[in-house]
Amino acid sequence: MSLFEARNITKQFGTFTALDNVSISVPEQCIYGLLGPNGAGKTTLIRIINQITGPDAGELFLNGQKLKPGDVQQIGYLPEERGLYKKMKVGEQALYFAQLKGLSKAEAMRRLKYWFKKLDIVDWWGKKTEELSKGMQQKVQFVITVLHEPRLIIFDEPFTGFDPVNANIIKNEILFLRERGATIIFSTHNMGSVEELCDNITLINKAKTILEGSVDDIRSKWAANEFELVFSGDVKIQGNGQYMILAQQFEEGRSTIRLKTTENVSGNEILNSVLKSGTLVSFNPALPSMNEIFIRVVESRN
């Protein structure tokens, strides 16, 4: 069953259409990628989920129930455009945001202690935000986002501003939150982290959904009939009726060849025909990266 569902969402600003009949369905304990080029409508959709703006048409469901104003306490949101009050002390500020999410002061205090200790930022409690580096501020914002233990967490570009070490810490925390039962919507331009983290994705372009499904399905679907062969030595292969050559190159004593088969040709048949050409080192169905799929899908639509 899906924890969150948006059905046929449409939103217009004046004459500009930001979302046109977009639907997403986020299964429980899933990390759901919301992808799309700049200006596609991702932020508008996220704002609608957070009830910051309302849709012109369409319905939203949380846990099978229609989304209502009180549900903001079950949602955590780390916006892309995020910040903290510069002159306010880190601890006071975290308490303030926790109270806005409906936590009592004492409960917020208890949880903050746990998280500050866990992320090793206890020393920052009494510091003003302006004294912190951008990465440090991001850590505080991460804590603020998850403090009220939301069932649905929305991260918009959570890794920007982090060095690789801290980005990894945050990545592990996100996986840990999922383990503990949270469902995550994850919006990013970093396709590497999509492959690493996401189970399902929706790709939005120009206000419309153009691709959706599980990451594995999408990759193997787009990979259809493509293989990558590596031979030792300088080996050249000619295309024939069964397959055509997409690319071949010779580097450091190895030849890498990419080929695309015509329909209904199995791997075995290809192997049979190329084995005589040289010493085969590896043979793989070539999965395209999410990056490639992203570019190809978006460009084909434009």
Partner: protein
């Protein structure tokens, strides 16, 4: 509701804890009090910038010793001097100007000077010469004992005004005190509304530029955030105002104590408070003190008249107009703050907002000379100017129906403005890098939820 109170608390506490707030709150009444003390001192010690004026009479000596040295100018009678010569050199000889009198044109004396002379000197010369000429003319009638007769008939008239209400009870008032009060109230209203309204705008811009706002509006409604901020800052303003009232009252008390004798002081102050409530005449003890000391009499009279103002009405309407006027302007300021990316961009929006406030102030100042004029009436009804203008009118007794009508219009308008501002604000705070204009704001106003 609970979330609004969390927001109000933050807005209030972060502002009240600021050093600038604490300094302003303590310093402002001290400045006011020192102004109250210093102003009369400065006025009585007068102008140190003495002006020496040469007096030349053409072939007569009718006005020898007629002009006496004043605080502003010394008069030096130069018998037989030539005006045409002195006119070229008076500046280098240290004279400010030359007063030229001629028997042929006795009613039109001339004053030559390099600069425009101050009005005080002109009035003094005119008045003195006029009296002197009248005296000379009287002398020609050969009346016996003219000097003592003149002394006997000299009178000063001190017009005192009394307002009569329906039951026929007369209250001593003073137009001067009403004027001073009107000025202070009108100006204070202008300052408070403007200062705290602008604080709302800066607060909104701070949240927008630091990008805190999107995190907050995922927890609370934008309208809640806006109202929380407006109310929080209003409480800061009221806190400051209350402290000012208490400190100023204390400072005035100290001033009074140093001017009035201690023994009289206690009795008089005790009775001041009674006067406010019951409008009693001055108690005998104070009156006897008054008779012994004329300076004290004047001062006591001033206090007595000031106390006859309808303070309950004044304080009530001041707080009412502050709250509603502030809400009205603060909501406009909040909408503007939400529409811009930084403070410099606010300028194009500020002019149309500042004009009604300034206009209100100008009309309020005009109100002091004619509180019943139709201009004053209409500006005390128009909601953008009424807080300032009505406050300036109230010390002059305004019919209750006018106050009630003005207040009703005010309430209706501020509700409408808050509602519209909330709609603009909701769209504006999430809009970055867009060149905003009034037209754009109008568009946002019509966006749906």
């Amino acid at each position: 509701m609970n979330k609004i109170s969390v927001i109000i608390k933050r807005e209030y506490i972060t502002r009240v804890r600021k050093k600038s707030f604490i300094i302003m709150t303590i310093l402002a009444p001290l400045l006011m009090a020192s102004l109250v003390i210093l102003l009369p001192i400065l006025m009585t010690t007068g102008n140190k910038d003495f002006k020496k004026i040469a007096v030349i009479e053409d072939g007569s000596d009718l006005f020898v010793n007629a002009l006496h040295d004043t605080k502003e100018a010394d008069f030096e009678y130069l018998p037989g001097a030539n005006v045409n010569e002195l006119i070229k050199t008076f500046d280098s000889k240290g004279y400010y100007g030359i007063l030229y009198l001629s028997p042929e044109a006795i009613n039109t004396p001339q004053l030559y000077s390099k600069k425009q002379p101050p009005i005080g000197i002109l009035e003094y010369i005119q008045g003195t010469l006029q009296k002197e000429i009248e005296k000379k003319k009287l002398l020609e009638y050969n009346i016996e004992n003219l000097d003592s007769i003149l002394k006997q008939i000299r009178t000063t008239v001190n017009l005192s005004t009394q307002l009569v209400d329906e039951s026929g009870v007369a209250t001593k008032t003073s137009t001067e005190i009403s004027m001073v009060l009107a000025y202070i109230l009108g100006f204070l209203m202008y300052m408070l509304v403007f200062i705290f309204g602008a604080q709302v705008m800066r607060g909104v811009i701070e949240e927008k530029t630091s990008r805190v706002v999107e995190v907050i509006v995922s927890s609370v409604k934008p309208a809640q955030l806006m109202m929380g901020k407006i109310i929080g800052i209003a409480l800061v303003g009221l806190t400051q105002f209350m402290i000012w009232v208490v400190l100023t009252a204390g400072a005035v008390g100290v001033v009074k104590a140093t001017v009035l004798k201690k023994s009289d002081m206690t009795e008089i102050t005790q009775n001041f408070s009674q006067n406010v409530m019951t409008e009693n005449p001055m108690p005998a003890a104070a009156q006897s003190a008054v008779q012994t000391n004329p300076d004290l009499a004047e001062l006591t009279q001033i206090f007595d008249k000031a106390m006859n103002q309808n303070w309950i009405l004044i304080i009530f309407s001041f707080i009412f107009y502050f709250i509603t006027g502030y809400l009205l302007y603060a909501s406009i300021f909040a909408a503007i703050g939400s529409a811009v990316d930084n403070e410099t961009e606010t300028q194009q929006f500020m002019l149309p907002v500042t004009i009604p406030i300034i206009l209100g102030l100008v009309v309020a100042m005009g109100t002091m000379t004619n509180p019943e004029s139709s201009l004053s009436f209409w500006f005390s009804m128009i909601p953008l100017t009424s807080p300032i203008v009505m406050m300036a009118r109230i010390p002059f007794e305004v019919p209750y129906w006018q106050i009630a009508l003005s207040m009703m219009i005010m309430v209706a308008t501020f509700i409408a403005f808050v509602w519209m501002a909330a709609k603009v604000y909701r769209t504006g705070i999430l809009m970055y890098g867009k060149k905003s204009s009034w037209k754009e704001l109008w568009k946002w106003l019509r966006y749906s939820g």
